[in-house]
């Protein structure tokens, strides 16, 4: 916390740290640095010459930068542009490095050797814009459906949905050694959440490789943003995710507000943050129940979901809806919080605090959880940093990073700094992730109380013009699952030119799939569940035994896989 304060005072209004980064980049790149711009505090946009992006990024990596937020691909009409969004934790600045890519030969050197976590973002751009990354270790399709024709790229401006034809294309065969088995997990799940499919290569009980197929849930939201006005975009952003929808609208409106050079009035920013923290409480308690369900402890699921209704009632009280609150709008929020509502929120928070402390107690003492989860799914801090993990996953590896703390430009987190602390855990395993989330609920309750005590008076929204001036903006926020980032480029009309969305689960995939290797089949559900996957999980599990000359196949549902996991542990003496 002291660190944070220091940074605040040092930076002041001179933006010294931002300028230092630009100076450093200029000293390395020289003539190849074409443009540099500091549009606002904690943001640097630089444009480098073709091919110079690697020099810039390796300079940043050498100076201790490790977090790549995402990579955006933009179609500029006569060419493409690839934007690397890199967060410098030491200086608290998001550096956005833009590199042009020619249209006739769309190729740009990969950065997977500098930042391994960039792999999944580069594959996404390969799919959606058709830009090739020479040197990429695994240039497979990641997000488009299997029957998508190979030469059509939906995010190119000259592409229209009418052009779409069907191609018959199946997944590439996964090479396996004798004795290894491919396990199909997904796409239908009996209890929860969205369709996804994994191909798990196992040797006996042990996972050797983990290949996700996440294209089931691809709807084409980024393209849809381009066809909607900014105001309509808010409602679309809310429906990217039904659990952390408010986080998506928060970053969307904050980015548009940056472009329009409007700042929401203090009361509006407070209410925005109050709803966001309430959303975090509901999401973490929800996750606690689901995770306990995955290890077969349904009592805890029912307990935690019963208490979750307390916060759902409060959200309904404030916003009028249990999910998809529609609180955010350009320039502020849509509804005020009345004093009688504040009174009810305080009462609800008292109940929640009592219950959450009890959960923490239960989780720490209960063998059901400890014997199943202690030391399972280890993500070491080095791996988490290498793979650019975010949210509770990286905090449970002992890395103190939280967008609300590192980059408090959204909502009223600047006012809040000093009134809360970042929760970390050194356990690096699933128990660590449980503890981080439970403690974060307590921190959120603390923050909510402070915000309700200090809620400023005044208007709740500012007027924002319909047409947004040309420019680009990045907004980041700590959603319940981790960093969510929106990159918006405007063209002077009432519709955005490009909206790039990076949800937190997308950032956590690489790290958690790496941690799957070496685990038992029985631990797959809880380990994948431990990142709180936003598009998730699995049901139909097909086992293919390739060790025989005639491959053997059988099918399990996720329920059976969970049951198998519980039984597997019982047979080894872990009693429920």
């Amino acid at each position: 916390m002291d660190n944070q304060m220091e940074r605040e005072t040092e930076v002041g209004e001179t933006w010294a740290r931002e300028e230092e980064i630009v100076r450093d980049l200029r000293s390395v790149l020289g003539e190849k640095l074409l443009e540099a711009e500091i549009p606002t505090k904690r943001r640097v946009f630089v444009k480098v010459a073709e091919g110079a992006h690697r020099e810039a990024i390796s300079m940043l990596v050498d100076s201790g930068v490790w977090h790549l937020s995402t990579i955006s691909g933009v179609d500029t009409g006569d060419g493409f542009e690839v934007v690397y969004h890199i967060f410098d934790h030491n200086r608290g600045v998001e550096v956005n490095i833009k590199s042009p890519v020619p249209r006739d030969n769309p190729e740009i050197q990969t950065i997977t050797d500098l930042i391994p976590g960039s792999s999944i973002y580069e594959r996404e751009i390969m799919d959606l814009l058709g830009i090739r990354f020479p040197g990429h270790p695994n240039p497979r399709r990641v997000i488009l459906p299997e029957d998508w024709p190979p030469d059509q790229y939906p995010l190119r401006k000259d592409w229209k949905p009418e052009q779409l034809t069907k191609a018959s294309r199946r997944y590439a065969e996964i090479p396996t050694k004798p004795g290894q088995v491919i396990l199909q997990v997904g796409p239908q799940h009996p209890a929860l959440k969205e369709p996804i499919n994994f191909e798990v290569v196992v040797e006996g009980e042990v996972v050797v490789d983990f290949i996700p197929h996440i294209e089931y849930n691809h709807r084409g939201v980024e393209k849809a943003f381009e066809e909607r006005t900014y105001l309509q975009g808010i409602y679309l952003a809310e429906r990217i995710c039904g659990i952390c929808g408010h986080s998506h609208t928060t970053v969307f409106v904050e980015a548009v507000e940056q472009l329009a050079d409007v700042r929401a009035p203090p009361r509006g920013r407070f209410i925005r943050t109050i709803v966001a923290e309430m959303e975090r409480i509901h999401s973490h308690i929800l996750w606690l129940g689901v995770a306990m369900h995955l290890i077969g402890w349904d009592t805890m699921l029912m307990y935690s979901w019963r208490d979750r209704e307390v916060i759902m009632d409060l959200l309904e009280l404030v916003s009028g809806n249990r999910v998809n609150y529609a609180m955010n709008t350009l320039g502020g929020v849509r509804r005020d919080i009345r004093n009688d509502q504040i009174h009810k929120i305080r009462k609800g928070l008292d109940i929640l605090e009592k219950r959450t402390l009890e959960y923490r107690d239960i989780c720490l003492k209960e063998d059901t959880l400890m014997k199943r989860a202690l030391g399972v799914g280890i993500v070491k801090p080095e791996l988490a940093k290498k793979m650019c993990a975010v949210g509770p996953l990286i905090r449970s590896s002992g890395v103190k990073t939280d967008v609300r703390y590192d980059d408090p430009s959204v909502g009223c987190y600047e006012e809040l700094s000093g009134h809360w602390s970042v929760v970390t855990s050194d356990l690096c395993d699933i128990v660590g992730r449980v503890l981080v989330r439970v403690d974060e609920v307590l921190e959120s309750i603390k923050m909510l109380r402070w915000m309700l005590d200090n809620l400023p008076n005044g208007p709740i929204r500012e007027k924002v013009p319909k047409k947004i001036p040309e420019g680009e903006a990045v907004a980041r926020y700590e959603a319940p699952r981790g960093e969510v980032i929106h990159y918006i480029r405007s063209n002077g009309t009432d519709k955005p030119d490009r909206v790039k969305v990076r949800a937190p689960t997308w950032g956590n995939y690489s790290a958690i799939f790496e941690s799957m290797k070496g685990l038992y089949i029985a631990d797959i559900p809880i380990n994948f569940g431990s990142i709180d996957p936003c598009m998730a999980c699995a049901s139909r599990t097909t086992f293919v035994d390739v060790s025989h000359s005639k491959p053997k196949k059988w099918t399990w549902t996720m329920e059976q896989l969970v049951e198998y996991g519980i039984r597997w542990y019982e047979n080894r003496g872990y009693k429920r």
């Binding site: 009996p190 929860l192 369709p195 691809h218 429906r239 039904g242 979901w305 049901s539 996720m558 329920e559």
Partner: protein, 147 residues
């Protein structure tokens, strides 16, 4: 009507088993469906049980717009449910595509792929509305018994 088939129909109304499938939605409806199963709302009062496999189910509760990749899977799941089967759509995007209408990878509502018996609109519908939908669907199941 034989006594066995009457018994089967009676038990279907008294304890319908459901299968939940999300064909590409935002998760909001799915969480509300689960909320309907947990202590505050508790649809197990009506004998409703969530099952993991389509072969055990009487009712499919579907949510979300149909994406290109899930379409074939949704159809296959529908085919695997034994007759007589019922489909209940929860949420506006399952009914019409709603906010995702026009997205290149969305094909529209659930009824673009499989026949639907009951729509519960809302974004997302609260658990009370889902329970109301289930109860009305049960009336339909019962009505078919006598008819």
């Amino acid at each position: 009507m034989g006594i066995i088939s009457r018994l089967v129909k009676w038990s279907r109304v008294k304890s319908p088993w459901i299968l939940h499938f999300n064909s590409g939605g935002c998760n909001g409806c799915d969480i509300e469906i689960i909320a309907a199963l947990t202590p505050r709302f508790d649809v197990e009062r009506f004998g409703i049980l969530l099952k993991g496999t389509p072969r055990h189910a009487d009712v499919i509760i579907a949510s979300g717009p149909v994406t290109r990749q899930t379409q074939a899977r949704l159809r296959r799941i529908y085919d695997q449910v034994p007759e007589p089967k019922f489909v209940m759509v929860v949420g506006s995007c399952g009914a019409s595509g709603e906010v995702f209408k026009g997205c290149y990878n969305c094909l529209g509502g659930i009824d673009s792929t499989i026949p639907v018996d009951m729509y519960v609109p809302g974004c997302p519908p609260p658990p009370e509305a889902i329970i109301d939908g289930v109860v009305k669907l049960l009336a339909k199941v019962g009505g078919e018994e006598s008819g």
